[in-house]
Symmetry: C2
Subunit: 205 residues, 2 copies
Amino acid sequence: MTERGLLIVLSGPSGVGKGTVRKAIFDNYNNDFDYSVSMTTRKQREGEVDGVDYYFRTKEQFEHLIREDGLLEYAEYVGNYYGTPLEYVNKTLDEGRDVFLEIEVQGALKVREKMPEGIFVFLSPPDLEELNSRIVNRGTDTHEMIEKRMTKAVEELKLIQYYDYVVENDTVNNAARKIRNIIESEHLKVTRNLKEFAEIIEEME
Amino acid sequence: MTERGLLIVLSGPSGVGKGTVRKAIFDNYNNDFDYSVSMTTRKQREGEVDGVDYYFRTKEQFEHLIREDGLLEYAEYVGNYYGTPLEYVNKTLDEGRDVFLEIEVQGALKVREKMPEGIFVFLSPPDLEELNSRIVNRGTDTHEMIEKRMTKAVEELKLIQYYDYVVENDTVNNAARKIRNIIESEHLKVTRNLKEFAEIIEEME
C-alpha cells in the first residue's frame, strides 16, 4: 500500500502575498507535489487564468457543489465564495502524492478540522505598514473594501495559534524557500518513515 | 527574557558518517548554532584535534566528572567512555543560542530523557552493504571490533522510533543540507513564535 501523501495548506491574511509566494514555489522548484486549484465566485482579475489561478464559477454553480458535498472547505469572504474541490484532493493524497492548497484563513481552519494531519503554514506580513500598502496598491478594490480587509487581517493574525508553522513574507523567494524546506523536513519525520526502516532492519538481521 | 535555544542532537549507528556530516554542516554554512564538543576516553585518531573533534581525556578524568554530575549524558561504547559536558550546553541554551550535539545512540536516548524538547535527528545508512564497507574501510579497527559494531548498528537502527527525524546519509552534502533545513523549519514552528506575534497583533489594534 502506498503511504498517503501530505496535505500542505498555505494560508494567511488577505493581501499578504499568498498567491505570489505560491507561484514562486511552483515556478522556481521541481516539486513532488501538486497544486490544488481553488474555486471562487469572485471577479476574475486581469492576467488571471481560469483553471490555473482559480476555477471561476458563478454563485449558482458554487452553491450547487456545496449541496452535493463536493468541497473540502468553502467560505464566503468579502461577498464571494472561495472553496476547495474535494475529489481531486482525496484522489491525489490516496495515490501517495502531496497536495498543496493556498486558501483563505477561514477555509484553512475548516480543513484543519477535517484533516488535522495536514501541514498548516501561516504566511505572515513583515509588519502592519507593509500589509496595508500591499492591500492599497492592489488597486482594484474600493476604500470600504480595504477597511474591511484590514479588520479581517487582524482577526486572521489571531488565528496563527491554530497553524503548525509561520513564515514571514519578507521576500517572496525567501518565503518560498522556507516553505519548500518545511515540506521536505516534514517528509523526514520518523513517524512517516517507520515502515521503510522496518524493512531495512529485517534485511540486516 | 530571551527564548531558550534549541538543542539539536545528531546521532545514528557507528560508522554511518555522523562526524563527516557534522563537519560539512559547520564547514559549508554560516550557522546560528554552536557545536558542543563531546568528551571521550577513546584513542585520538590521526588528524583529530583535542577540543575540536573531542575532548580526549583519561578514564580517571572522565570518571571524576561522572561523580561530579558534570555530564548531560555519557555512555561506555566498545570499551570507551563518550559524554557531553553539561555546563556548556545549559549556559548556551539559556543565552538563547542553539546547541548542536553529535553523539552515539545510547547517549542520545539519555539526552532525550533529560531534554525531550530537543530535536533528535537519526542519520541512517543508505543500505547495509554501504554501512559495512564504511566500517571496514575505516581501517583502524580489528575484525572482532567490526563484528561488534555491526551487531550494535542493527540494535541502534531499532532505536529510530525514539527520534524526531531520520536523514539518509546518501551523500554528505545532501544530508548536511537536509539537517540544516530541519533546524530552520523547527524555528518556524508556531509554538516557538507565539510571543512575537502577540506583539504584532497589539501593534495593529
